[in-house]
Each structure stands twice: as structure tokens, then as C-alpha cells.
């Protein structure tokens, strides 16, 4: 594509390619669903995803929304402690983890999927606390008052939108066996 002199035909071809790319960018920006426009549309939509032309740029436009947080109450040795999935490895790594945790909110319309997502998160906590008897997954969103409400004394609060308790299957089965005098 280099060269100090380009023929007019080559220039037109390069312009068409560049224009096509920027056209896809603008269509995505206007939220045109290319995938609904037949095979060519689907191909264009796939290419847009690959090249990033489908990226939306309305960051923080529909208000600045809060990300949910997940806390985990770990019952272990008759004590209950609270843990989180963030590792403290770095601010950036933890921000990605917070975004991942927020998927529990994104799948809220399907209770079964949400429970599975919560169980997956609980699985990481059980791995950190191998002797834990149970883990309570608590997902919360942050209710931030407006500036006027804040001046009037309203204070932010965490609102629980999901709570579930998980127990390792082996512990339940061991408990059942114990109740049956060790018989399976």
C-alpha cells in the first residue's frame, strides 16, 4: 500500500475501503443492526466486531451507572468472615474483576443462570477457604443520592439485589451419610 505515487484507480480503491470502514463505524454509532440485513449484513456485522467498528462510544452517556459488588460471607470453623473476589493484584486487574462480577446483574432476567453465575463465584471463594461450610453470595448495587438529596441528609446505601447460600455437595452428602449411620 506504500509508494510515493499512487495511481488514481488505486487511490479510489483505498478511499472505498477506508470509507467502507468509517461507514461501518458510523452505522454502529447510529445503532443500525447490520445482522438483521441478510447474509451480507451478517458478514458486515461480524467484520465490524472483529475490526472494532461496532464499538459504541457513548461511555457514561446513559447516566453514570454503578457497578454491582459481590461480597461473600464465609462460614468456617463456627466463624463468619467476609471475602471479595478482588485480589489486590492491581487496580486495573481488580477493575476487570468488578466488571466480571457485574455479569451477575446482567443475567438477572434468568434466575437459573444468575444462580449458576453466583455458584461459579462462590466456587472461587470455597477454593480459598477449603474448610468452609457455606458461602453466602450477596450482590449489591450502590444507591447514590442526588446532590440535593445528599445536602438534605440522604446518604448512600448498598441495596441487595441477589443473595444465595451455597454448600459443597460433598459436605451435604457427608452429613446425610452421618445421619444414616454411615450407610450410603
Amino acid at each position: 500500500m506504500e509508494g510515493k505515487v499512487l495511481s488514481r484507480r488505486r487511490k479510489l480503491a483505498l478511499l472505498a475501503i477506508s470509507g467502507g470502514q468509517l461507514g461501518l463505524v458510523s452505522m454502529s454509532a447510529l445503532r443500525v443492526d447490520l445482522g438483521a440485513e441478510g447474509a451480507i449484513g451478517r458478514a458486515a456485522a461480524y467484520y465490524s466486531q472483529l475490526s472494532g467498528a461496532s464499538t459504541q462510544y457513548g461511555f457514561f452517556s446513559e447516566d453514570v451507572g454503578t457497578l454491582p459488588r459481590a461480597t461473600f460471607d464465609v462460614k468456617e470453623d463456627d466463624k463468619t468472615t467476609t471475602d471479595t473476589l478482588e485480589t489486590g493484584a492491581s487496580h486495573e486487574a481488580d477493575f476487570h474483576i468488578v466488571l466480571l462480577v457485574s455479569s451477575i446483574f446482567a443475567v438477572a432476567e434468568d434466575a437459573e443462570v444468575q444462580r449458576t453465575v453466583a455458584a461459579s463465584m462462590a466456587g472461587k471463594i470455597f477454593a480459598r477457604h477449603p474448610t468452609a461450610e457455606s458461602v453466602v453470595v450477596r450482590a449489591q448495587t450502590y444507591a447514590l443520592p442526588t446532590m440535593a438529596e445528599y445536602r438534605n441528609g440522604v446518604r448512600p446505601a448498598w441495596e441487595v439485589f441477589y443473595e444465595g447460600t451455597f454448600v459443597p455437595r460433598e459436605k451435604i452428602e457427608a452429613g446425610e451419610q452421618g445421619a444414616n449411620g454411615g450407610k450410603p
Binding site: 477506508s18 461511555f59 473476589l85 489486590g88 493484584a89 477493575f95 461459579s120 446532590m147
Partner: protein, 415 residues
């Protein structure tokens, strides 16, 4: 009479087309120095390399089969149907290779390709491998992505096609680089510039259509929500005009970008305003890499001069002005990026815990209590539990006002 009129019309149309073509040709194909593209390549590469280093300890948490979202769940709720590391894992499993070597191998290949991209070694191949491995890793952890990852995908893709290795590169040193200045460097720069203008215009207009940006509430939320909490901005509630002015300033900078970044008279002011906006996002919202990558784009696309140096007088030794210019701007940019707390992120990495690959599989867990209804957030507001103050990394001297969390939920790994 008719024929004459038609001929006149045709002649006028031809003249118009000819003028339009000359204008387009001048705008899109006047030979340009590759210095802006080289600064973009190196700046983007450095930001992504730093990001890779600080995110690496969480690789298995984010993208592993035994990660926070276990493999099948992650795939089931994925938003994009694009190639991912999972595809590679399945392909290599037939050869008896496990998940860990494939995931780590992809990550290592990404870092090596980034190093080659920064050095300008086989620049386009390096860009292609960087883009592909970035795509594979991003798709695998697509629920964990945000602006920086999306912009990286776009501009890595562009780097495959643009002659960014034409200056300040090993390719240039080894005589493999394309000619510089070149018409294609100009076209590539125009695509980058127009794309940026579209991104800012869309971002600005969508914000302008949203009431909270006019009232200052959006600024209030951006500065006080826990995930972005860096400093105590609760005092802003008593000075709402400041939040309002800040919101208006963001709208002005973003919506005005596509207009005022072009004329020479206003360009420098808009570059400074845009860089300041992104420094603000980096410092006050903790989005260091997003702030850094956006600074790279604007400085490279509009800050670095692309006009070739005028011909030298006879007898003067030839100088590689593109190389010198690209080096000067790259050094400036790297100094600026250093100031955007990348150092803090890297220091955080030094204290990083090793990647945790253990988990208990979902099928080995039983939900013993039905979860609360989830269609709407639970109505009664629960005050922040004690856990908030027990979270690591709470800045000891940043005591929040009553009711705000005692510490941001994200541990601050800064120095």
C-alpha cells in the same frame, strides 16, 4: 440549444468533479510523514504492555476455565461470537495439551508481539499478531472489558494496515520500511483522525442528550461512585455549580472535538483540553489505562506534525526528520503516560499475589436457599456493611463523610 445547455451542464459537472477530486486527493493523499503513526504505534504498545503486566496475575481469574466465571458459564453468557482462547483450548486438547499452557502461551505471544510492535520489528506482522491475540483474550473475558480494551482492538486493527513502521522502527534501520513520507501515511492518519472525531462526537452528543450531564449529577456520580472513588468529593454536593460547570466542560470538549481539532488556530487548545479531560479521568476516576490510551490517540493523531520537512538547501547533510520528530514526540508522550499513574499500577503488580487457579466446580455446589427475587433491586436500602471498612487498601487519611463507604471497594494499589 438543448445540446449546448447539456454540454454546458456536463462541462460544469466535470469541473465540479475535478475540483472535488483535487480536494479529496489533497486531503487524503498528500504525502505525509509517518511520525504520527509511529507515535501511535509506540504509545499504544506501551500502554497495552503495561496493562498486560498488571492484569497478568488475574489472567486465570478472568479467562480461565476455573476462573470467576467457569468456562462453560462464561461461554454461555458471552456477548460476542468471535474467536476466543476457548477455541484454541479445544483444538489443542486433541493433542493432549491442557488449558493452562494454551492460555499462558497466548498471553506470552501477545506480550512478545507487543514488544515487536513497539520496536517496529516486522511491524505489520507484529500488529496482526497483537491484534489477534488481544482479540482472543478479550473475547474470552468479554464480560470484563471496558473502553480501553475496545479502543485497543480498533487501533491495533488499523496498525495492521498503516505504514507505522516507516519511521522510528527497527524495520527502518534494517531497510525494510516503506517509503516515508507517503500518500498512504496520510490516508491512514485521516482514517484515525476521522474515527476519533466520530467517537468524540457520538460520545459528546449522547451525553448532551442526557439530562444529568447538564445538571452536574453525572459528574457527581462519576466522582463519588465506589468503583471510581479516588478522592473524597462529597463536598461537591454543597457546590453543585462546580459539578455543573465540569459537566458542561466535558460536553464542550467532546462535542467540539470534531470541529475545533482541525483548524490550526484552535487545535492546540483542543489537544490540551482533551488531554486534561483524560488526565482527569485517569486521576479522579482511577481509569488510568483508559485515560492513557485516549491521550495517546489525540496526541498522535493531531499533536504530532505530519507535514514533511521542506527540502534542504544544497550541500546540507540529509537528516531523517520523521525519525527525529517521532522520537521527540514519543519521548514526550511516554513522559506524559508515566505521569498517568502507570508507575503506581506497576508498583501494585510487584505486590501481586500469584494467579489463583483453584476453584470448586459449580456442579459440586448446592444452593441451599433460594435467592431473593432479582427482577428489581431489593427495596429497603441496607447500609454499607462492616465489610466495606474491612476491605484492603482503604486510604487511611481519606475518611468519607457519614454514609459513604469507609473505603472504595476497589483496593487502591497505588504508591
Amino acid at each position: 440549444m438543448k445540446i449546448t445547455a447539456r454540454a454546458t451542464l456536463e462541462s460544469a459537472a466535470k469541473r465540479l468533479l475535478s475540483r472535488a477530486w483535487i480536494a479529496i486527493d489533497r486531503f487524503a493523499f498528500t504525502p505525509a510523514s509517518a511520525a504520527p503513526l509511529a507515535v501511535l504505534r509506540i504509545g499504544l504498545g506501551v500502554v497495552l504492555l503495561a496493562q498486560a503486566l498488571v492484569v497478568a496475575p488475574a489472567l486465570f481469574d478472568l479467562a480461565g476455565d476455573t476462573g470467576i466465571l467457569q468456562g462453560p458459564i462464561r461461554e454461555a453468557i458471552a456477548e460476542k461470537d468471535l474467536p476466543s482462547v476457548d477455541w484454541l483450548v479445544r483444538a489443542f486438547s486433541r493433542l493432549g495439551v491442557g488449558e493452562a499452557p494454551v492460555l499462558v502461551g497466548t498471553g506470552l505471544l501477545y506480550v512478545m508481539a507487543l514488544l515487536a510492535l513497539i520496536a517496529g520489528l516486522r511491524t505489520r506482522t507484529a500488529a496482526a499478531i497483537t491484534w489477534l491475540t488481544h482479540l482472543l483474550l478479550s473475547t474470552t473475558a468479554d464480560r470484563a472489558l471496558y473502553g480501553v480494551d475496545e479502543f485497543a482492538n480498533v487501533f491495533l486493527f488499523y496498525l495492521i494496515w498503516m505504514p507505522s513502521g516507516a519511521t522510528l522502527s527497527l524495520d527502518r534501520r534494517l531497510g525494510r520500511a516503506p517509503a516515508d513520507p507517503s500518500p498512504t501515511a496520510r490516508l491512514a492518519l485521516r482514517v484515525v483522525q476521522i474515527h476519533l472525531c466520530m467517537a468524540y462526537l457520538i460520545g459528546g452528543v449522547e451525553k448532551a442528550l442526557d439530562h444529568p450531564w447538564w445538571t452536574g449529577e453525572a459528574m457527581w456520580r462519576a466522582l463519588t461512585l465506589p468503583e471510581f472513588w479516588q478522592f473524597d468529593f462529597s463536598w461537591l454536593a454543597n457546590h453543585p455549580w462546580m459539578a455543573k460547570v465540569a459537566g458542561w466542560t466535558v460536553l464542550l470538549v467532546e462535542t467540539g472535538y470534531s470541529i475545533f481539532i482541525w483548524p490550526r488556530l484552535t487545535r492546540r487548545a483542543w489537544i490540551v483540553a482533551t488531554v486534561a479531560l483524560h488526565l482527569g479521568i485517569a486521576v479522579f476516576m482511577g481509569l488510568h489505562f483508559f485515560g492513557a490510551i485516549m491521550v495517546v490517540f489525540t496526541v498522535a493523531a493531531f499533536g504530532v506534525p505530519a507535514e514533511p520537512e521542506p527540502s534542504l538547501a544544497a550541500g546540507e547533510p540529509p537528516i531523517d526528520s520523521s525519525w527525529i520528530r517521532a522520537r521527540r514526540w514519543t519521548l514526550r508522550l511516554l513522559a506524559l503516560l508515566g505521569a498517568i499513574a502507570l508507575v503506581g499500577e506497576v508498583l501494585g503488580m510487584i505486590n501481586a499475589a500469584p494467579g489463583d487457579r483453584s476453584t470448586v466446580l459449580v456442579e459440586d455446589l448446592i444452593a441451599v436457599e433460594e435467592p431473593a427475587p432479582t427482577s428489581e433491586p431489593a427495596a429497603p436500602a441496607a447500609p454499607a456493611p462492616a465489610a466495606a471498612s474491612a476491605e484492603p487498601g482503604s486510604p487511611p487519611d481519606t475518611l468519607p463523610p457519614p454514609g459513604l463507604p469507609a473505603s472504595p471497594p476497589l483496593p487502591d494499589s497505588g504508591p
